[in-house]
Symmetry: C2
Subunit: 339 residues, 2 copies
DNA sequence: GTGAAAGCGCTAACAG
DNA sequence: CTGTTAGCGCTTTCAC
């Protein structure tokens, strides 16, 4: 008991309070839980004794007996995509507002998922929100075995119903591409996030499909990793062997900004006059005057709220069936695409 | 017990495993703790039974008896300052690497600190890292009463020794200002973070002091809130009644970027040719080609590691005296200040 | 409305 | 090395 150093008094329990207040231990317990039958007199005595002793209920003991930890695990990986810090913040706020604490897990490599889940099981969290992580149906099956609800963000699991909240990628990307096509762009390239990212794959697939519907087939794709530098690198790579395209469709805002900086800085291309660039996410920096991206803003607040709503519902009622909630993004007509 | 829905089997405990393995319950407990004396034979039997039953040790029960939660609370407020997500990520990694979980708390208004601390006490966290929060000596005293170690980031508490890890603001800002003075800048303004921020106040004070040492007294100060928009607004406000200064000293990178965008975009000022702007932090976006800030980079990795080192040391040995660790930042000679 | 008593699932002496 | 035995601090029937 490393914390029990000399001069420090033993931690005060409900028994200590009971003794001082001259009531039973269970009276103390009741006094600290709202809505339980205790007389005002008793409650007053208890509170006075508690304050005097500096008593705080021990949440760990409560968890053990109630089988509820009051904690939710939030899994997040890349912070280089700047929309995720914002999202994490909103999710945390939503959970706090409901009296639930956040146990934060970062996941850098997907091969650490197994041990991360191991932690999740032992910590008896009431639920899990996966902001950025690839889950296959086996992972989801584990959650079902453990009877612990999980909500995915912008992700789905093939052949397996699962709670998920998604921005409407299809609607958002269609709007971006319609805009680009309307304005006469003809030569497109796509800067995609990495092939091992579900989000990147979906956004790329949708972009290519919609371009094809407009008659633009075989649009070239370059792969980055969602980072600013990869946006620069991809565009630089393209320019080695080709001329500037009319328009660049990027998987996220960070890559779009990298692409713009590369085009303007190194290749002397005027964005948007000579080339249009569109992103996705609507993160803070997308609105900076230097960029003013044409992009689709994810409704981060509503999505965070939806994710927490779905999760809390499943915690209260474990038999509720999996639910998918899709929210529309907002087209931002910025200045990175010719109008 | 909402989770105990019909068809779901009762949760499996070490007793169940013991029964199936044909050993005592304490043997199961030992088998799951590394470095405890168990024969290979027993361990094998236990593990086999555990796997068969899907047993996972219950961390809550362990916490209750060991008086150690294995959790550290991390308090963070503003995510608009983009260096904090990076820091949070590094701190979380450092803690995970030591087998400690992160209980995340966001603090939007300082008047919520009281109830936040209430949570901290009841959750029996082993320690606290405050990335962004103002603590006065009374708050620190509470930590001492509860015997729970705390480490502050870039903050100190007047008249009260406390564990803290700080970037060397004085050294960093001195370098920035020396650079500006050497290059002939004479008319300065300071864009400060909000007066209720310890970090803003320290950075402003140091900047003004060093400017005064160079003979520049009474340098005008405008107050923002560390955000991009406030950088823009402050500079716009200045330009209403004054001409462009030679140099703008900003409290952080985000404001510096806002200031640059405002100067270039609205006022047609060439940065750095006509005006120099310096920031502080060295966040990712500061390195983007569109800005390439002249700034001081906080050694985020080392600082995260230092904070965790100090905290873990205090958790192991509660009698260790408070420690202040100051790390030098790195001057980044970017392109936002004339060379 | 109140108190007594029985655990929640595990760890940590202590004997054997 | 193994099993027995007390609890950790609290919630929750159940009588009174």
């Amino acid at each position: 008991m490393a914390r029990q150093n000399p001069g420090s008094k033993k931690r005060v329990t409900s028994y200590d309070v009971a003794r001082v207040a001259g009531v039973s231990q269970s009276a103390v317990s009741r006094a600290f839980r709202p809505g339980l039958s205790v007389s005002d007199k008793t409650r007053t005595k208890v509170m006075k004794a508690a304050k005097k002793l500096g008593y705080k209920p021990n949440a760990i003991a409560r968890m053990l007996i109630t089988q509820r930890s009051g904690m939710v695990a939030v899994i997040i990986s890349s912070i280089s995509n700047l929309v995720y810090p914002e999202l994490l913040s909103r999710v945390t706020d939503q959970l706090s507002a409901r009296g639930v604490r956040v146990l934060l897990f970062t996941l850098d490599h997907s091969d650490q998922l197994e041990e991360l889940l191991e932690q999740v099981w032992t910590f008896q969290v009431d639920g899990v929100i996966a902001l950025t992580a690839h889950f296959d149906h086996r992972d989801i099956a584990q959650f079902e075995e453990h009877n612990i609800p999980v909500v995915l963000y912008n992700r789905q699991v093939p052949d397996h119903p699962v709670n998920t909240v998604c921005v409407d990628h299809s609607q958002g990307i269609r709007q971006l591409i319609d805009l680009l096509v309307e304005n006469g762009n003809k030569r497109f390239i796509v800067l995609s996030g990495p092939p091992d990212s579900d989000v990147a794959n979906e956004r790329r697939r949708i972009a290519l499909e919609h371009l094809a519907e407009h008659g633009f087939a075989d649009v070239p794709v370059l792969y980055g990793d969602f980072s600013y530098q990869s946006g620069k690198d991809c565009f630089a790579e393209w320019m080695q062997d080709h001329g500037a395209p009319d328009a660049v469709v990027c998987s996220n805002d960070t890559m779009a900004i990298g692409c713009i900086d590369q085009a303007r800085g190194t290749h002397g291309i005027d964005v948007p006059e000579q080339m249009s660039v569109v992103g996705f996410d609507g993160m803070y920096a997308a609105f900076w005057t230097g960029y003013e991206l044409t992009t689709v803003r994810q409704p981060v607040n509503q999505m965070a709220k939806a994710a927490v709503d779905i999760l809390m519902e499943r915690i209260e009622n474990p038999d509720a069936p999996p639910e998918k909630r899709v929210l529309a993004g907002t087209l931002i007509r910025g200045k990175s695409a010719r109008a």
